[in-house]
Point group: C2
Chain length 316, copies 2
Amino acid sequence: MSDLPFGHLALAEGEEFDAIRALLAVWGARATGIGDDAAVMDVPAHERLVVSTDASLEGVHFRREWLSPRQIGARATAAALSDLAAMAATPIGLLLALGLPDSWRAELAELAHGVGEMAAWACCPIVGGNVTRASELSLTITVLGSAAQPLSRDAARAGQALYVTGRLGGPGAALAAMLRHAVPDAAHLARFAQPRPRLDEARWLAARGARAAIDVSDGLAADAAHLASASGVALEVELAWIPCASGVDAERAIASGEEYELLVTFDEGSPPDVGAFEAEFSVPLTRIGRVVRGAGVTLARAGGRVDPPRGHDHLS
Amino acid sequence: MSDLPFGHLALAEGEEFDAIRALLAVWGARATGIGDDAAVMDVPAHERLVVSTDASLEGVHFRREWLSPRQIGARATAAALSDLAAMAATPIGLLLALGLPDSWRAELAELAHGVGEMAAWACCPIVGGNVTRASELSLTITVLGSAAQPLSRDAARAGQALYVTGRLGGPGAALAAMLRHAVPDAAHLARFAQPRPRLDEARWLAARGARAAIDVSDGLAADAAHLASASGVALEVELAWIPCASGVDAERAIASGEEYELLVTFDEGSPPDVGAFEAEFSVPLTRIGRVVRGAGVTLARAGGRVDPPRGHDHLS
């Protein structure tokens, strides 16, 4: 990894090398440039570097009984990659810093498989990492991407229309069920346990004139507020237009976090071809509102205004 | 930060924004490009991107009573930047993923000052981050740098000479004292608590023909073994030539970790001007051995061979 032997103070020498060997054995050719103090990479000519870091912790972002180790690895990687999707960037590398409790040591290979599978799915080489003994499991993933013209969340302007990818509410419904020790709907659980960052979808949207974008990690209502704040505009969202997961109402759908869908704006006069989008990706693209002058997010139903929801459930 | 609001599931909304505000208030202009899903940067034309991630955990890399919060922040940042020094790269950005226990919440500003001061010292903008509530303090720092021709640890060849920067042994002596609850020597403690990555020194060495390089994080003996292994060569180290901190013998000096000095090779016929180096940086540059055919590290004293030391002390 980038600092071989990585986690040099954290594990006794034998354990440390065992951990490294286990990761590299799982990742194979998906890990590149491993073995020096740092990885050396190239950003494609005429493109900008896009970089983000994201942490997933047991007890904060998930509970052990909810997810398999492989799902934990893949989900943490997907969450990090979703920040590249929000910028319409193409992944060029990721680094994993793993905090590994002794009680998780036996799951190291499965965690690595999860990270490796999502990295492979996104065509993203694993270029570095670090393993440290820790008291709780954590996966801190830094993603690097490139884009000629990255999308941003500060480019929404009055006169644009607001769109969202996918159907919302599944992760929130699954989380709510698991928190009350009920069995979640299988489709909802799949959306919670196996998110897919909208990388290809984001590039498609950017190539067709998307103006501003953000990924839906905190819930559509909250992320719409972040988009509005960053752009210095107001957003009007029509609740009746929200595309909802089966069995979920719009109020809950817009409070559901960790969706990893995209919220994007387009000029009113240049709307995206939603049919072509769905044909390409088998995922809906839905107009849910518009950008106006002002500040904040207004939720409307049949012309009337409703109160915004609270943020989605936290584990802690 | 790169994912505003960062640590979105980890802290209640008010706490989360408070943490962000506290960091940004401390960092001021040192934090750039904050506020979108990811940071957008440029790598200088004709240079390569160099990237590494490094974690510092309480109880693994330090104990709370040994260091001030400001030192903890600066030291974690220095350790990460040292991987860029090993590649002779110029820092262009860093991202901090902070795992913050409630018991450390009051120290957030001081931790941020430490990170910010070291970043400023290295002229490295802070481009992103993440804050998550955690049960133990952790700072996972990803550093980005650029270099036209990065140094690597796999370029040592028979016929080269081996050099090290600085004087070794201070961090190990301080750590040993603190582990036995003794008061460490002030100079040793300063080397442990306030390391300085050899960034300028590395570029100076690279510009003058350095062939292979590694930073001394695990102890000179261990890192020499990594260099030898990566390059497919053997290293002969003359113990009598090791530059030691005051009061430390060579055997202990070469087992002292977290030195963040540089171990570099030069062609025998093109040695660096050690006087000019010391005049420039007020740090010695010392020839300590040579590269030969074979494998592993041979320690010699007055022509005789001695056993290699064990790795340096681990906290866990």
